[in-house]
Symmetry: C2
Subunit: 211 residues, 2 copies
């Protein structure tokens, strides 16, 4: 069998073979982020996307069969960008808690520059529930792996698992909603430091002399 | 001025005056939670709500003008139920961190019994963004007040503010999504204890001998 099973292909199933094709696909996805972010899935249209992208309608159908398909591809694309934004700020030799802080800083910066991401991922819960779930399960899985690394290095306590990762993810998502999307009244660095202090020492008052 | 300002009235502006009226309104809101939770806002219908409630169509219009209006009233109602679910588990003399743990336990129990709440509140971001924002701002505000109480009692550290409240709320919401709505593979008590341990001591490994 040399014919790939379409059901196993990626959301954006037609991969461009030329540099020009890759640029067109990129333009379409960037335009889709604006179109879906501003208008929502139901109001968004394929012609709205191609107009914003400055491409012909035919180019759209070279890569996507429908509005649903580019929406799924966009969620996959944004999910990858979130992963990269968190990763870009990481250096390999950072202590485990600084890794979490750097990842949150990167995410908050990304969310400020791409405020539409919240609306798109959130609407995905209704348009394509499987992709919504996949996005968060993947993100939690990455956090859980980082925590396990911190425990192996002797920096984090034993027994950290999936639920700790979900707790951190929820903290980060809600801090992003409040301090990156709704308002920028605090600096990204202050918010990341505040979240980091929770992971470092919790909220309890420490006996004096104990930092 | 004895005439109330209509802009200050509750979303469900026609308040029932009799016990029977209160029961009908309650039935309509409970039916709306199922209808919107199962079908989503766009697919949900007023006749679907009255059929589930076992009330006449006229009863619906006694209390609500439209599908939008009962949706807003429902979000307000659910927001109040979340508040009550967290509050019911509280005793007035609990230490501050046990208050947070009890509030999360109550919320997780409520979310397991009313899984539709996530879909309804999340869809509210698109149907009625102001109510969506209000729900989370109110919730964060309550958490912030509880934290301030803990600091006053000398149990929590100084300087806890709005962002700490948003961090806790995000943690709770995502733990609820994963462990109350998507799966019940861990007990409510285990998840609440795990979240509590983050607030109590963070994730860092403590020097041995220091609990």
């Amino acid at each position: 069998m040399t014919t790939p099973d379409p059901s196993e292909s990626r959301p954006s199933s037609k991969v461009p073979r030329t540099e020009r094709g890759r640029r067109t696909l990129r333009k379409l996805l960037d335009a889709a982020a604006i179109e879906f972010g501003e208008r929502g899935f139901h109001e968004a249209s394929i012609t709205g996307i191609t107009r914003r992208a400055g491409t012909a309608l035919g180019s759209f159908y070279t890569y996507f069969d429908s509005k649903d398909e580019i929406f799924r591809a966009l969620v996959d694309d944004l999910s990858g960008k979130v992963r990269e934004a968190a990763k870009n700020t990481l250096q390999s030799d950072l202590p485990a808690l600084d890794v979490e802080k750097a990842a949150l800083t990167g995410f908050l910066q990304f969310a400020r520059e791409h405020k539409e991401i919240y609306r798109i991922i959130d609407e995905c819960e209704f348009v394509d529930p499987d992709s919504f779930r996949q996005h968060y399960e993947n993100t939690a899985h990455r956090i859980q792996e980082r925590l396990a690394g911190g425990t192996r290095k002797g920096e984090l306590r034993e027994g950290l698992g999936e639920a700790h990762a979900w707790a951190i993810m929820g903290m980060n998502v809600f801090l992003g909603l409040r301090y990156a999307v709704w308002s920028e009244d605090s600096s990204v660095e202050d918010i990341a430091e505040l979240a980091s202090s929770i992971l470092r020492e919790g909220l309890a008052k420490r006996p004096s002399g104990q930092s």
